[in-house]
């Protein structure tokens, strides 16, 4: 348990939660609830605090809790801290949210039937992470009942000690320590020990579970206050793709390298060494050759620039080794969640 991990687990977002006016049946309306929501937790879990606060005023009926921020419904299976980092780039303290207990938007949002749904989503993500890291879900499927209960309990209660005890049994370490070589998957490990792999120069890869929330903007801005607002989930690209680490990456594979490797469509040079596509961005040149029309002799190339990478509420220097970022800033289900803002602009390329 590093200092950084302790900070992450203690991290919380102060929320000011207002009941939607359509569900207020009393006068005066109830005051908003002030809640400290754990970063690594999930919004529906706050129902135990919110229900008592608002129950006197709710209309009769069945309660299904959901949240919105400035009209945008919040995806409940995304950790609270990630939602805040993504939607509130200029941090609002407290963060003003609206809660609903009725009118669940089931055409837009996955159903949530309380703690069980959140727990199921968490375990499912953990299985996916385990699959990415080890190639199978066995260690999760084989967890004892007690361990499962303890693991989920430790996340619910924000208990890092208890979590570390149970999670270490899962053997899902991705990087041995901050600056060493990567832990290979089981099959390549055995080949390594016989020396066969070395002899034929096989590339060893590790895969790191990452969820990247990408937000691309065309205009420049100095402060996030002036940034265009995310008022629609279609403005965010959800990239659920593992980072592939290659043997030749060496010890100092940085956060910058990892982000670029995840976005080959924006950073084509970085895809060299990835499976397949070594043809870098030739489009500009090819188009230039094909269009003989003198009118179109200048052509545009798109340039992407990383404006911001926010993880657990901080913006680490992009030169930090990626291994450190993963080991210290990942969420309990072994996914590293990154909010990335990209500025994409067109530039006229010279022939």
């Amino acid at each position: 348990m590093s200092e950084a991990q302790k900070y992450v687990w203690k991290g919380a977002i102060p929320l000011q939660i207002h009941l939607h006016e359509s569900e207020v049946t009393t006068l005066p309306p109830p005051p908003p609830a002030l809640v400290l929501a754990p970063r690594i937790g999930y919004l529906p879990l706050l129902i135990s605090l919110l229900k008592p606060h608002f129950s006197a005023t709710l209309p009769p009926g069945v309660d299904t809790i959901w949240f919105e921020y400035k009209g945008l419904h919040l995806k409940w299976y995304i950790p609270t801290g990630v939602l805040f980092d993504l939607l509130c780039m200029e941090p609002e303290r407290p963060w003003n949210l609206t809660v609903h207990f009725r009118g669940y938007p089931s055409n837009l949002l996955l159903p949530c039937e309380g703690e069980d749904s959140v727990k199921w989503s968490f375990i499912n993500s953990l299985k996916e992470a385990a699959y990415v890291i080890t190639g199978n879900c066995k260690n999760i499927m084989n967890m004892s009942q007690t361990d499962q209960v303890d693991l989920w309990g430790s996340v619910l209660n924000g208990n890092l000690e208890s979590y570390s005890r149970v999670s270490s049994k899962l053997k899902l370490e991705t990087f041995e320590d901050e600056y060493t070589e990567n832990v290979d998957s089981a099959s390549t490990k055995s080949q390594q020990s016989t020396g066969d792999a070395e002899a034929v120069g096989q590339v060893k890869t590790s895969r790191i579970p990452v969820r990247l929330y990408l937000w691309a903007v065309n205009e420049d801005f100095d402060d996030f206050e002036d940034a265009p607002v995310i008022d629609n989930w279609d403005k965010v690209s959800y990239i659920n793709r593992p980072v592939e680490i290659h043997k030749e990456d060496g010890k100092y594979f940085s956060l910058n390298d990892a982000v670029k490797r995840l976005l080959p469509e924006y950073f084509p040079e970085s895809s060299f060494g990835n499976e397949g596509d070594a043809s870098i961005n030739q489009s500009a040149g090819e188009e230039g050759e094909n269009s003989c029309d003198p009118e179109s002799s200048s052509h545009t190339v798109e340039i992407a620039e990383i404006k911001c990478v926010r993880i657990q509420g901080i913006e680490p220097s992009l030169e930090v080794p990626f291994s450190w970022v993963v080991n210290n800033l990942m969420n309990p289900e072994y996914f590293l969640h990154m909010c990335v803002c990209l500025k994409v602009s067109e530039a006229n390329a010279l022939q």
Partner: protein, 246 residues
């Protein structure tokens, strides 16, 4: 064959499809589908993300087959794993029920289905996503979808609901869809195809989706024409979905 290729042959195939081969496999699948499954509309390729980018980069995407109607079939047909599907069309009533160009969906009794084949970079396999709705656009609850599935699928569903059909957000469309959980795919694809695998067999990669769909399609009652499979696969095709899933 260089050293790298020689090494690849030594390593047994793990049942997965590499990301950069998905679009090739997808186009082979949709071409063959067009050739051999005349009663259905074609699968369409949807590139993603939609924003314009460096056009030379291989575009990500998924396959879609939308608005196929499930005609209520009798119990006996369902137990044999075959369902009757018809494609939506707004031309006149037909006498030949399987000619999709001239059929109208009976509005009062048809459930509409959309199918998407999306690649999962985590599991490195294709995943079948689907959703169902009534003619008025209202989504079907899972309990109704279960009634639509062929007999053996419904049993599997009852036994292990959480690990078979799950409801998740579509990776690109920001809406809830159902999907067939992919965690076992690699294992049964290995069972199905490892005899025919060699790294130099390009045809193998192209056939991946066809082979995959020959199993997965059965789960949702979409039977592909056996002509789509090549000779080796036809021999292997004694397995049913339930054998594989058990």
């Amino acid at each position: 064959m260089d050293l790298k290729e020689a090494v690849k042959d030594k390593i047994p195939w793990d049942g997965t499809l590499p990301l950069n081969e998905f679009s090739l496999s997808a186009s082979t699948f949709s071409d063959k589908w067009k050739m051999f499954n005349h009663s259905f509309p074609p699968w369409l390729w949807n590139p993603c993300p939609k924003h314009h980018l460096n056009s030379s980069h291989k575009v990500e995407g998924y396959l879609s087959l939308e608005n196929v109607c499930l005609v209520k079939s009798c119990e006996e047909e369902k137990n044999h794993g075959s369902l009757s599907w018809k494609a939506e069309s707004n031309i006149s009533q037909a006498e030949e029920p399987f000619d999709h160009a001239t059929l109208v969906c009976p509005e009062f009794e048809a459930n509409h289905y959309d199918f998407h084949i999306v690649y999962s970079p985590s599991y490195r396999v294709p995943v079948l996503y689907f959703r169902s709705y009534y003619s008025d656009g209202q989504p079907l609850p899972l309990s109704e979808i279960e009634k639509d599935l062929p007999g053996h699928s419904a049993e599997l569903l009852l036994e292990s609901k959480w690990t078979f059909i799950t409801q998740e957000e579509h990776p690109y469309l920001n809406r809830p869809w159902y999907k067939l959980h992919p965690c076992g795919t690699r294992d049964w694809m290995k069972l199905l195809l490892s005899d025919t695998y060699t790294s130099s067999n390009k045809n193998f990669i192209e056939q991946y989706l066809v082979s995959w769909f020959s199993v997965v399609g059965q789960v949702v009652g979409l039977k592909i024409s056996l002509e789509m499979l090549n000779i080796e696969e036809k021999k292997l095709f004694e397995t049913t979905a339930s054998d594989i899933f058990e």
